[in-house]
Amino acid sequence: MTGPKPIRLADIASDVGVSLMTVSRILNNRGQYSAEMTRKVQEAAQRLGYRPNLAARQLTGRRSSTIGLVVPYLSDLFFKHCVYAIQETAREKGFGVLALAHNRDLKEEREAVSLMLQRQVAGLLVASAGGHHPHFDELRRRNVPLVAFDVPVENTKSDAVLVDNAESTASAILHLLAHGHRHIAFLGTEMATYTMRIRRESYTKTMREAGFAPMLAVSEGPLSGEEMDTLFRKALSGTKRPTAVFTVNSHATVRVLLLLEKLSLSVPRDVAIIGFDDFEFAAFLKPQLTAVRQPAEELGSRAMQRLIDRLNGDVSAPFTEVLKAELIVRESCGCGAISEALASNHSRPARRIASR
């Protein structure tokens, strides 16, 4: 199976009745030909459905115009926005995007990067699972630019576009502390991942600095929904139950909210909650969810733009760009409850606090 027979330059040449060289020169904008001849050749190329063979171009040393994208998940609430922006930015510049998900698995990531090399991508965007692979060195040997986003690539000097996970986590924890909470638990999975690790470190540091003991309910790797329930249920139902929780990502937020309902614990009266990652339905939950909003689309478009700059010959030293996240204050942290108590019937619009 070799697919449809492609239209060759020779087919256009015989159609118009000119030499192969003439067709080649006109379609590649070389040489001087009459407007009439140029129009004839272009018209025939279009009518016959001619497409320049990118594979052949690659062999002659010209760059491929396909970008490789390796991410943990494609349909994830956070990554789908990054992926969307990457694709939009790429398409505007005439690039196609090959996408692979590694599911936060080092072996799958290694395979994905290897596949991208095989596919001869012009450049690679990676939200790493955290491993270092020889393939990353191979990229550099072949002069294929690499841009890391969300997570830096281990032991590799490359451009990186990241979110300020530490500052935004600290601002969320400080917000809960300001509401008077002392027993604030940190719930989440995939702690082996860079972003999750930073969030945990920032939580622990903020709690210690305030003079309170950290309460962690976490797992190193990904967990199934049921496993998450078991882990979080233990943290939420002991005698030393937290009065507030911080969830590390939207997966954890969703599980915890469902669990709190099952345990008949009311938010924010029994347990206040702030989640990392905002999502479009957060304002329709009852109470409305207070959440850290990451600039997912900006992250994606900035990363893609950096890759395009590199492909266009920017040879300056690799550098890391850090984007701010903001705390979207709604009700689940306790703010709505206070406004209801103090000023009944006064509905309060969401406030935004940019983390410093």
Binding site: M1, N53, A55, S64, L74, V83, Y84, Q87, R91, F284
Partner: protein, 373 residues
Amino acid sequence: MPKPKKRRKQKGHITTLTDVARELGVSAMTVSRVINDGPASPEVKRRVRAAINRLDYQPNEAARLLKGTRSRTLGLIVPDVRDYFFGTIFQSVQAAARAHDLTTLFLTHDHDLNRERQVLELMLERSVAGLLVVPAGGDTSHWKRVIDSGVIVVSLDRPLPGLKADSVQVDNQAASYEAVLHLVDHGHRRIACLGTESELFTMGARLAGYVAAMQARGLPLLPYVSREALPAAKIRELFAQAWKVKPSESPTAVFSLNNACTLQALAVIQQLDLRIPSDVAYVGFDDFQFASLVWPHLTAVRQPAEEIGRRGVELLMGRIEDASRLTATTILPTSLIIRNSCGCSSAETQSSGAAKFAETRPMASSGFAAETT
């Protein structure tokens, strides 16, 4: 069998096919056959693949394509990856394709026909093994040209009418009919239908399901549905019209045609300070991960998004093996996930038993039956 030679890998040296052959003590031709899916014993295949991995050999895709070997890239065109339904299809296509050693090249058309034509060109320039597409709708002449030239195309969610393309869909009209009747069975008589883009195949079918259910019970039609796509603010304006009537004439229940409409409808309901389900009962098309978190939990029609993607890849692989097969449309079952927004209490919460079984219908009437060359 000669003893495998010691692996010598110098810094900066790129592993070649010859290196792999030398390592295993087999001919370069044997390695090449394995890489290009030619004949070789399972044992040889296994050993060659293991050596390829061990030595980090990267076959040159561009060179393979020039030799006429089939591309290892599968193309996917969807409206928008941010949408829960299309995003899930994307993830599932990518995973299913990978199981066949194919990588997924994806582009989005944002529900725009011109954009669809543009991204189709981008796809074809990159020699894909086949294309999966959720078509933007409207004119399909560009698809006809592509399919006639021999490119394998499978349509998802929506058909490519009259073209030789396999398709995976759900029965939108029957699913809507069932959902609307559920509201009628709760005693509602004034049920508004909120939606956009009635010109689209899926939206048109869902609207038709609403109309059929209402007419079957002799109830008045209250459609607030635009023909075209609208920005969010305009959608809210349109939906709010449903309540800009005499209180005795305002709807007691609403049915929304997709996820995006649900989001805007909830905003309108929140703004009007209406309570669900006591002031207005609610059923939406498209289930999503927050339907069970929104309070009250939303009753929704669930489409098997993951399976739509997986089946699409299967159909495409089948077509690569046997291009002469009859064109088939696979209709997958939907289910009405009953939660609380419809007026059912938690105790009644369940999935409806009316889920239809998957059926694959050969399109005998479409004129392709004769094309068994």
